[in-house]
């Protein structure tokens, strides 16, 4: 019943082609633009063909925006801090949700889901004032602190489902043998949940890498702390925009998350869709 006749096959492939063109066109155009000399790009109407493609922009971009390397480092640094902090907050909480019964358990889980629905934009004003009072504006912390808050809810849900997959019998057996809660956590839960922790950590890393823009433009004016999504706008100069170099830098800037995602997409997608599909 899953056989298609040639006509159907062509139709489906054509559909996929159109769909994929929509999804991938911006990336293809970014890559193509990054390979072309600036004076080829500045021809109107658009030229489909260039005869001297090169990776020159990928070298020149470091000179045009001298801080580019720093911005990429900042993005990495911010995302790593956010991921680690998120894990620290989320591991005990997710464990409690997976293993214990307590009043308001379901209600608080739903509240977590609801928090996911607020965008950072709604609470920027008090956060701005808070960070200003604490003297944390224009620092790494100003981007890390709100970043963690918005990743905690999903991370708890994700990790909870990983913990639930660990058979409770193992823990009970250890408990009967006189192991303490801490020992159980260290010797049974931790090793068995490592894959889950890695997936949730990477989810937090990617999420934080993606959400840097809003907090960065609002809470940080200092160049030395800027993450790459905001740093890229330096290619937009007073006279003209160095599109080819900007696109090259943009592609380099998105590469880390893309690579991480491609390697781990199966696990991340599985975890995220599990709730929607089975519940």
């Amino acid at each position: 019943m899953n056989k298609y006749n040639p006509f159907e096959k062509i139709l489906i492939y054509f559909g996929i082609f159109v769909f994929m063109t929509f999804i991938l066109l911006p990336f293809i155009e970014m890559f193509y633009a990054s390979l072309r000399p600036l004076d080829h790009l500045f021809r109107s109407p658009y030229q489909f063909y260039s005869d001297d493609l090169s990776f020159w922009a990928y070298q020149e971009m470091w000179n045009t925006v001298p801080m580019l390397g720093r911005y990429i480092f900042n993005s990495f640094f911010l995302a790593s801090c956010v991921a680690i902090l998120t894990l620290i907050f989320v591991i005990p909480a997710a464990y409690a949700y997976a293993r214990f019964k307590f009043p308001a358990k379901n209600t608080s889980l739903y509240i977590l889901l609801a928090i996911n629905m607020f965008s950072g934009a709604v609470i920027l004003i008090p956060l701005y004032k808070l960070l200003r009072t604490l003297g944390l504006l224009n620092s790494y912390q100003s981007m890390i602190i709100p970043g963690v808050a918005f990743l905690i809810p999903t991370a708890i849900w994700l990790l909870k489902s990983y913990f639930e997959k660990i058979p409770i019998d193992l823990e009970e057996a250890a408990f009967v043998d006189g192991a303490s809660r801490v020992q159980i956590l260290r010797h049974i839960i931790a090793p068995l949940s490592t894959p889950g922790l890695v997936v949730v950590g990477i989810y937090a890393f990617i999420g934080s890498y993606a959400q840097q823009f809003l907090f960065a433009i609002t809470f940080n004016q200092k160049k030395e702390y800027m993450p790459i999504p905001t740093g890229l706008y330096e290619f937009i100069g007073y006279q003209s925009v160095k599109w080819n170099e900007m696109m090259a830098a943009a592609l380099v800037g998105m590469l880390p998350v893309l690579l991480l995602f491609v390697f781990l997409q199966k696990y991340i997608v599985e975890g995220l869709t599990a709730g929607a599909v089975k519940n």
Partner: protein, 299 residues
């Protein structure tokens, strides 16, 4: 009984202790700011200080024609964006669900717009929409549809449509992936039975697939409505709400009032409106989720 009760309360304390760090963090960084936003909306707070002004911010806001226009615009923008995401996502999922060679590669290739930081993806769209040198204007000029350069983000209507398309681009992959996961969860024997009864591919889609994935379709419509409503970076980067306010949605307006002009009070009043609307969406979503869960546990 007593023993049981005791261990139950002990469990509760341990559980609360484990949850406390995350809970306190969320209360400090999300819950308190939400309440503080409500308080600020009754003041004329700015960098200089604040005084209580009662409902003045709200009165000004609701009597301003501009604000009412912004609310309407937000919903129109959302309606088109969400509908397109769902339709394109459903078509995409059907296509990628077809049992053909290469589908596993395509399934990975749909995801980049979802994963890549929006602010970086939008640089690509800025280039595509460029009126002189962009490929869309270029194709338009070469085919004669456009008679000259056309800045898609420079005119009211085209900017409105262009921001919707970029938003659909960001949101579609996730919808596709969820629909695809739902389609694969449909029990195979349903299809086999229908096939034996001679149902066409078309029938099988409308009579089996679609009803089976309806819960996911409904959840995704609500979730994407919420995310679309919250969409900030896309419009901010492409148009900053312009030209002449034609792409200013509630979120953009809130941001501009609060952090563009540092009129915290006015911005807070707008944020409160956003909050109330989001709470309504969230309420719908959670009620729906509870109903679906109940239905499943009854089956």
């Amino acid at each position: 009984m007593n023993q049981k009760l005791k261990s139950y309360t002990a469990q509760t304390y341990i559980a609360y202790a484990l949850i406390a760090p995350a809970a306190i963090y969320i209360i400090l960084i999300v819950a308190w700011p939400l309440l503080e936003t409500i308080r600020l909306s009754f003041t004329n707070s700015s960098l200089a200080g604040e005084d209580y002004v009662g409902f003045e911010n709200y009165q000004k806001m609701f009597s301003s024609k501009k604000f009412n226009g912004i609310v309407t615009r937000t919903f129109v923008w959302m309606f088109f964006s969400v509908s397109l995401k769902l339709i394109i996502g459903l078509i995409g999922a059907v296509l990628l669900n077809a049992n053909l060679k290469g589908r596993s590669i395509f399934r990975v290739l749909v995801m980049p717009p979802w994963v890549v930081p929006i602010a970086i993806g939008m640089l690509g769209w800025l280039w595509l929409y460029n009126g002189y040198f962009g490929i869309i204007a270029g194709v338009g000029m070469r085919t004669g549809i456009l008679d000259g350069p056309f800045g898609f983000l420079a005119y009211k209507q085209s900017a409105f449509i262009s921001t919707i398309i970029a938003d659909v681009w960001v949101g579609t992959p996730m919808v596709t992936v969820f629909f695809l996961a739902a389609m694969q969860g449909v029990p195979r024997d349903l299809y086999e039975a229908a096939y034996c009864d001679g149902a066409s591919r078309w029938d099988r889609f409308f009579k089996i697939t679609l009803p089976q994935i309806t819960p996911v379709i409904i959840t995704m419509s609500l979730l994407s409505a919420i995310w679309t409503f919250n969409s900030f970076e896309i419009i901010w980067i492409l148009t900053e709400g312009g030209p002449r306010g034609s792409t200013t949605t509630l979120i953009i307006d809130t941001y501009k009032q609060a952090l563009g002009n540092y009129k915290f009070g006015r911005g807070a009043a707008r944020a409160v409106v956003v909050m109330i609307l989001l709470m309504l969406f969230a309420g719908f979503y959670l009620a729906l989720l509870a109903r679906i869960n109940k239905k499943i546990s009854h089956e």
